[in-house]
């Protein structure tokens, strides 16, 4: 059991949980994730480690409530516990050790970009973070990232920072030149857009993928993604890959495998009863 030591609501649907896992807090590196299983009967879900405090033995998980499992996780309070956490999993981020990096974070992906920016900053790399959200209340991790370098905040409605998408700001930075590497984490369309932007500039771009996963150790193969025409298991060969080689269409489609199931589960959950009947399982379209 892993005790929750702090809970902060970061945006209307994004919550930060600090959880006691001393071993992982001690050895985790940027880019790595954990598999979390809240309690018996709950799903195993992958979550990137957003930060860690080795002295207090805690890791920071930033969770967007989208389905039943994530809603139940964000409903936990300090003093509650998570039953199973395994990790740290996946390869650490491939870091440059000098030069200039741009870290682009969209929505909850900003939390995943944070440890990368941290690692780069520690290595003496010049970091510019470009982060965004629908409006001011959706912008997260701004203060944490400001400690590591410049931050450009973009909101869709212009309620905070500059109006527009993170891609607009990224384009300007690329135009200005001098960018050695770009890290992009966020919704699939955002990562695809950033990769498309950087390609003509020849700037190496790393994206962090979060496909459907069960065990996180390479056993199930559910997390397979296509990178440069080759099938990779994101859990053991990723989760970060060359954004110019990732088949984002396939990733987006595969992420939707259980959409119907998730929505029904969430609806049932909202209705106050989390019981789910067999007919709620996803039905593929008729042939």
């Amino acid at each position: 059991m892993h005790l929750i030591t702090a809970r902060v609501q970061l945006s209307p649907n994004v919550t930060r949980l600090d959880v006691s896992v001393p071993r992982i807090a001690d050895i985790r590196q940027p880019g790595q994730f954990v598999i979390v299983r809240r309690a018996n009967g709950a799903e195993r879900i992958p979550l990137t480690i957003a930060d860690a405090d080795p002295i207090n033995g805690t890791i920071t998980l930033v969770i967007q409530a989208v389905g039943k499992s994530t809603r139940e996780l964000v409903a936990l309070a300090p003093g509650d516990a998570i039953q199973d956490i395994s990790g740290p999993l996946g390869h650490p981020t491939e870091m440059i050790t000098a030069g200039r990096a741009v870290c682009v974070g969209g929505g909850v992906g900003t939390a995943v970009v944070h440890p990368i920016a941290q690692g780069l900053h520690q290595r003496g790399v010049d970091v510019t973070s470009i982060i965004g959200g629908r409006s001011q209340e959706w912008v997260i991790f701004e203060q944490e990232l400001r400690r590591l370098g410049r931050v450009v905040v973009c909101t869709d409605d212009g309620s905070y920072g500059r109006k527009g998408f993170v891609t607009d700001a990224t384009r300007e930075v690329l135009e200005a030149g001098g960018v050695d590497i770009v890290y992009a984490v966020g919704p699939v369309p955002m990562m695809r857009a950033v990769a498309d932007l950087t390609r003509p500039y020849g700037v190496h771009t790393i994206v962090s993928l979060n496909p459907v996963m069960v065990d996180g150790t390479g056993m199930c193969g559910g997390c397979r993604v296509d990178v440069g025409g080759q099938t990779k298991f994101a859990c053991v060969e990723g989760p970060e890959f060359d954004g110019h080689l990732v088949d984002f269409d396939l990733l987006a489609e595969r992420l939707g495998t259980y959409r119907e199931f998730e929505q029904q589960a969430a609806t049932t959950c909202e209705a106050g009863s989390c019981r789910r009947a067999a007919e709620h399982a996803p039905q593929p379209p008729a042939i």
Partner: protein, 459 residues
């Protein structure tokens, strides 16, 4: 006196194809007594030679004949740590029973069914068989992986007084016994009881620890007097045909893990599983049988087994093939997949296949399939489960370059099970490649004996 081999009572095929409760119901005491009497108590029993863990079969059968079930249980458990498991999942027909002299003129003694009977009797009579730890030796052994090899080794080591800690990557120990083999063949309750026995005897189990990630192998070696690696052959092999990343394509590992470990077959589990109308399972081994029978139970109108050779060459146990047949599984034998076909939203709609015929025997001695030109056809289905094998997972071995591997990534060991690093032993699928529960248990037992000798300086 001539007694016919007793048949295993089983749940009605139509009924069971819609539920996940166990298919085989087990012998009654009367049936067990009759069956045990069929053993002629050979002076040099060949059946024992056929058993990877060398169970003294005639001895425990004689106890049954004498009506001494506690004696039978103590005899059996002394040789085999997990008889309730092996009595259900061992391929007895190619191990002990194939050696039985009764089989020369009639059917061999139903050793597997009797093993299961005695093990279940002991489960119902708690306290008859106990696992007792010997006086502490002060030596500490780490076991990587809580599957059949690891659990067996743990029992053997704790019996010899060593302090044992099992590191399990998943949230529950049992390995393939809990994530792979379905409830209808091996109830999870049995594995839980076996694990509880080990814990009671003092074995420590640390779940959610991935050796290779949470700790490296050298870190583990530094903290323990010996290490036994039994982390299995976890990486699923795909067919490498077009369309394999479509939605609705699963590895057997994923399909079975969702259903078994994550209990997706039960209402109230949060883990989703696709309930497809037509499921094509590719492969001919026990895992393929488990997957296709699971698909049937999840409500598939058609659960189809696609295998490129004929039924005679299937590596699956004959009993499993018969059970699948009776439950209404469709067999597409001599059929090889060429591609998986999908629709605009990337869902599977079919499996493009080719008919095969048998040619010359290959290296395995089985006649190899040869494609029949112009025989391509599309098998309509909305899910495809790939059950063509697994290979070594490099997660652990990658963190320890000193560990000698073979060309397939399996760990190389000496006759006593020791790896290229002194004090580190290995067994089960990570050494053999995908094999059986009982072979892994045999490795666990032998490695535990070797580790014991090593710790006592007998190497």
């Amino acid at each position: 006196m001539k007694i016919a081999r007793q048949a295993m009572p089983e749940q009605d095929a139509t009924q069971r194809s819609g539920n996940f409760t166990e298919v085989n119901l087990g012998f009654t005491e009367q049936m067990a007594l009759l069956e045990a009497q069929r053993c002629i108590q050979c002076k040099e029993p060949k059946c024992v030679q056929g058993c990877p863990v060398m169970v003294n079969i005639p001895r425990f059968l004689q106890f049954i004949v004498e009506g001494d079930l506690p004696g039978a249980a103590r005899s059996l458990f002394g040789d085999n740590a997990l008889p309730a498991v092996t009595g259900r999942v061992c391929p007895q027909e190619t191990q002990c029973e194939v050696q039985c002299v009764r089989g020369l003129k009639a059917k061999p003694v139903a050793i597997g069914y009797l093993e299961r009977f005695v093990a279940d009797w002991a489960r119902a009579h708690q306290g008859v068989v106990t696992l007792e730890a010997a006086a502490p030796t002060g030596k500490k052994v780490a076991i990587v992986g809580g599957g059949p090899a690891g659990l067996t080794a743990a029992g053997e080591l704790v019996k010899r007084g060593h302090e044992v800690t099992i590191y399990e990557a998943l949230h529950k120990p049992g390995g393939v016994l809990v994530y792979g083999i379905p409830e209808f063949r091996l109830p999870k309750q049995i594995v839980e009881e076996e694990v509880a026995r080990l814990v009671q005897a003092g074995v420590k189990i640390e779940n959610n620890v991935v050796i290779g990630r949470t700790y490296t192998l050298p870190e583990l070696r530094a903290q323990f007097d010996a290490v036994f690696i039994a982390n299995g052959a976890g990486l699923p092999v795909f067919m490498n045909v077009p369309g394999e990343n479509l939605k609705g394509v699963y590895s057997a590992n994923e399909y079975l893990t969702r259903v078994n470990l994550m209990e997706a077959y039960e209402l109230g589990s949060d883990t989703p599983i696709m309930r497809a109308r037509r499921v094509a399972v590719v492969g001919g081994g026990n895992v393929a049988m488990d997957a296709v029978r699971t698909a049937k139970r999840l409500g598939a109108e058609r659960a189809i087994l696609v295998y490129r050779r004929s039924r005679a060459e299937m590596p699956a146990r004959v009993e499993e093939i018969h059970h699948a047949d009776a439950e209404g599984v469709d067999f597409e034998n001599l059929v090889a997949p060429l591609a998986i076909i999908g629709n605009a939203t990337k869902w599977v709609t079919g499996l493009k296949c080719q008919r095969m015929e048998l040619g010359e025997p290959d290296a395995s001695g089985r006649r190899s399939p040869v494609a029949i030109a112009g025989s391509e056809f599309v098998l309509e289905c909305d899910a495809v489960v790939v059950a063509i094998g697994t290979r070594a997972n490099p997660l652990l071995t990658a963190t320890c370059p000193d560990l000698k591997l073979n060309r397939w990534g399996n760990i190389e060991v000496t006759d006593n099970g020791m790896t290229s690093i002194p004090g580190i032993f290995a067994g089960g699928d990570i050494v053999r490649g995908a094999a059986t529960v009982i072979l892994a248990m045999g490795d666990g037992k032998r490695s535990a004996q070797a580790i014991d000798a090593y710790l006592r300086g007998g190497f």
